[in-house]
Symmetry: C2
Subunit: 273 residues, 2 copies
């Protein structure tokens, strides 16, 4: 078994400056058994020293949740031949935190999350466990990317997603990346030859109109299932939704400073503060 090096992490673009192959942490939110993470591992496994720490069960829609009130478990698994992999009882964000502290004992050079079964464009970025894991990595000074295929099916065809995930990772490894880099990469559910390439985009302004389905249990009490209609109110041609509808792979650089700077100035003036 290979053990991670415990050298002191350098503070920038580590994948690029590593003398040997970079250490790459891979996680997801569909769980360690999902086809998506298997496809991601397969597509990049020769590009670095791969470690997988992923949820032991589906964790879709967990956003940036962390486990505070109960302890976490971590089990070594044999899901990926020749690759150290661990199933974690927590959320995708827990996986990143625990991987750094208790599996790698250092910061990896890169963190990859996915390939998610289903879209994480526009407002989905905020609900997505896949993307929150990537954001957590960037908070911890680890450049990262989340990958999502626009096909929810367990039997989705990951051919194009694999090609483009690898392309993005290769580009990241060749680029001087800020240590807080996060890329949100969505791939159309298309054959590779129909995809028109990468497009750097902004997050579309879109949301869901909720419509909970009410049912009654055998004791006559109500329960509610979340359903909703996705509404894209953004007609811009520079958005991820537009890019995907036009058969591009969308790449949105993501940040985690949530300050609304323009409104900050406006409010200070309005409230005379």
């Amino acid at each position: 078994m290979r053990t991670p090096k415990t050298k002191k992490p350098r503070t920038s673009s580590k994948a690029r400056v590593s003398k040997d192959k970079p250490v790459i942490l891979i996680t997801n939110d569909d769980g360690i058994s999902a086809p998506g993470i298997r496809n991601l591992v397969e597509s990049v496994k020769d590009l670095g020293h791969i470690y997988v720490v992923a949820p032991d069960k589906p964790q879709s829609g967990m956003g940036h949740a962390i486990t505070i009130g109960e302890p976490l478990r971590l089990h070594k698994t044999h899901h990926f031949e020749g690759i150290d992999s661990y199933a974690c009882s927590g959320t995708p964000v827990d996986c990143v935190k625990l991987a750094v502290d208790k599996v790698l004992h250092r910061k990896p050079d890169l963190c990859l999350s996915g390939i998610n079964h289903g879209a994480n464009h526009s407002i989905n970025v905020i609900y997505s466990g896949t993307m929150s894991a990537a954001v957590e990595a960037a908070i911890e000074d680890i450049p990262s990317a989340g990958f999502s295929l626009l096909d929810y099916s367990i039997e989705a065809d990951f051919t194009a997603a694999r090609l483009y995930a690898r392309l993005v990772v290769e580009k990241m490894m060749r680029t001087k990346l800020g240590r807080h880099t996060v890329l949100n990469v969505n791939i159309p559910a298309q054959k590779p030859e129909l995809i028109r390439g990468l497009k750097i985009c902004r997050q579309a302004y879109a949301k869901y109109n909720e419509n909970y389905v009410q049912r009654n249990d055998p004791h006559g009490k109500h329960y509610y299932w979340l359903t909703g209609e996705f509404v894209n109110a953004d007609k811009g041609k520079d958005t991820d939704v537009w890019a995907l509808a036009n058969n591009y792979v969308s790449v949105v650089p993501v940040q985690y400073d949530l300050t609304h700077y323009s409104y900050k100035e406006q409010l200070a003036k309005s409230w005379k503060l």
Copy 2:
């Protein structure tokens, strides 16, 4: 010594267009039984028609998690005299979604979240269920604010937090607010007479260095408790952390467009896209 003025509010913003008092939805992440939400309700209950929809159990650190794979329950409670209140089995974000669709059957004029037991400044905004509920409201076109007191104790003194929560709500009601307004309000654990007033801030650049505590169960297997050291790397005097350390109530306007615009331009150039 400056204490908040309590002049009579006029109904404004979305609330402004209501013929009578605004409809105010209140939620939190510490659960419907927490002292914090009771204090928030008490501090603003004469300012609007109050509805409470809050988690039936603590949901701290749930971030923007939503419940997808199982249904939700909603139980009418009698926690607040004369106020319609419901306990929800889901996350804080679920509470907002379900409240709009199945309790209010309309969008409230304002959504308030808290008062949280413990700080939600700087990077905490991203892990916080309290703040994620407020952000969810803004996504749904409902101006909102999350309130947090810098005291984790169940027996915390909410005197100053109540005064300032009310002051902020009154100011919000007198201001023409954008429908996507979210304010992250943190209140020092101080007596009101020691607090120097409100300060509009940006989110400090700070994070946690994780240090999981490893223990063994009676069967000899490891489990891990999340602990960590908060590290503020931001020396700015315009941050929420600075304001709180200097006995101001910090107010950070929050956004949910996570696009990193400056890096977007840089990456497009670097990747020639």
